[in-house]
Amino acid sequence: MRKKSIYLLAGAGGLLLIYNLYRIFLVLPDEAMQGAIYRIIFFHVPSAFTAMSAYFAGLVLAMLYLSSGDLKYDSLAASVNEVGWAFSIVNVTTGMIWARIIWGIWWAWDFRLTSVLVGIIVYGGYLMLRKAIDEPTQRARLSAALSIFGSIDMVIVWKSIEWFRTQHPGPVLSIRTGGGNIDPAMEHMIYWNWLAIGLIAMAIVLIRTGQEAMSREIDSLRRLANAYESPISEAVTHE
């Protein structure tokens, strides 16, 4: 069942991505001001959306885990946060390439860039914390707590850096502006590519969740083996 959904999601996402690549590079024209480089937005923005949705799902899953104690939510939370983290890096990397061409610099301390960077550090800490704890239930509880702190902090970081400094291009998508800032064909392309990237991200999440469940099973088998290790004679010889 899980295998089938992984193939289905990855297959659909992959095919859509190929079609999107064809549209992006061969059908859509260059942008009037920026030329060819603007095409990076079709990866930059969807990966940002994917990362944000993943972090948000991570927060919800952390709360679900804490209220239910069901480790399947923890596996899912770990997977979505990891995938979110990876797409944040795609987001920052594509952004930096674009900035180098258009702004002439690799990095600017704009509020969006800074927030994403802070997010990468916070969720990098989350991934490190998970590596540092061996016992699965303790790991689940502590990383859920960190995830709640981290995601709420991200909201405050976002708002406060917004007051502090802004250099990033303002909102262009019509959901934020009411339309008119971007050619509808380009805007639709962003959404289509978000769908492709989102499907692939979901496939990766499912693969990671399966791995998490398997590593938990290995851990429990190891504990079971250890439980049978100490012989009964040890318990009786102390007298």
Binding site: Q138, R141, A145, I156, S160
Partner: protein, 226 residues
């Protein structure tokens, strides 16, 4: 009410232990003075520049000195399994986190006072001219740092890489708080009144404190009872 009374009992015990051993305070104060000394080679004392950068420098020193204090916070309970004894007593987990935060606050304020005196001497800056604002900003920001330090001290207390994990986890979370403290302290050091911009940051400090204190208390059981 009960939680608050219990947390003061715990904070009192921690401060009594600290007065006896001075392990955290000595380390944190020495560290702060050394960093301020090193900064005096980077920034020319007595210049306008010193006033502008002084604020950021001070808060970074406080935050770093804080990590030294916080690392000791819950690990002080590890020898002889004192943490288990406290958790098995009628004290609530929330009162443990709150008590450590209060002790952290007290120790960090001592470090801040020492640092400010040294800072005033080294950089020739009169930082005491706006006492009300200074006290307000220091209290709000230091409380936020202390709460985060306390709750993450609890979260990392049983980890192998405790000393490394704590700073990695707390500094990115403290970012909005430190920005607020730095932005407002610039005006305090320059002896200028707060404008709307500074009041906006004061609100960030309050919001941060309220949200993270509530989260810390709500998640205390999850973090400590493992």
């Amino acid at each position: 009410m009960r939680t608050i009374r219990q947390s003061f009992l715990l904070a009192g015990k921690d401060l009594a232990l600290e007065l006896r051993t001075k392990e955290s305070l000595n380390a944190a104060a020495a560290f702060s003075v050394v960093i301020l000394l090193l900064f005096s080679f980077v920034i020319d004392p007595g210049t306008e520049e010193a006033k502008e950068f002084g604020s950021g420098m001070l808060w970074l020193v406080f935050a770093f000195a804080g990590a030294l204090v916080f690392n000791r916070g819950f690990s002080r309970e590890l020898p002889n399994e004192c943490l288990d004894t406290l958790l098995a007593s009628p004290l609530s987990a929330a009162s443990l986190v709150l008590g450590k935060a209060i002790a952290n606050l007290a120790m960090l304020i001592v470090v801040e006072i020492i640092s400010l005196v040294v800072f005033g001497l080294f950089f020739d800056i009169r930082w005491w001219l706006r006492p009300a604002e200074l006290a307000g900003v220091s209290f709000l920001a230091t409380w936020g740092i202390s709460v985060i330090g306390s709750v993450f001290g609890a979260l990392t207390v049983n980890l192998r890489l405790r000393e490394l994990m704590l700073p990695v986890l707390i500094y990115p979370l403290l970012l909005p708080l430190l920005m607020g403290a730095i932005e407002t302290s610039i005006k305090i050091l320059a002896n200028q009144p707060f404008t709307d911009y500074e009041w906006l940051w004061m609100r960030v400090l309050v919001v941060f404190d309220v949200i993270f204190t509530s989260l810390a208390l709500a998640l205390a059981d999850t973090i400590l009872v493992n």
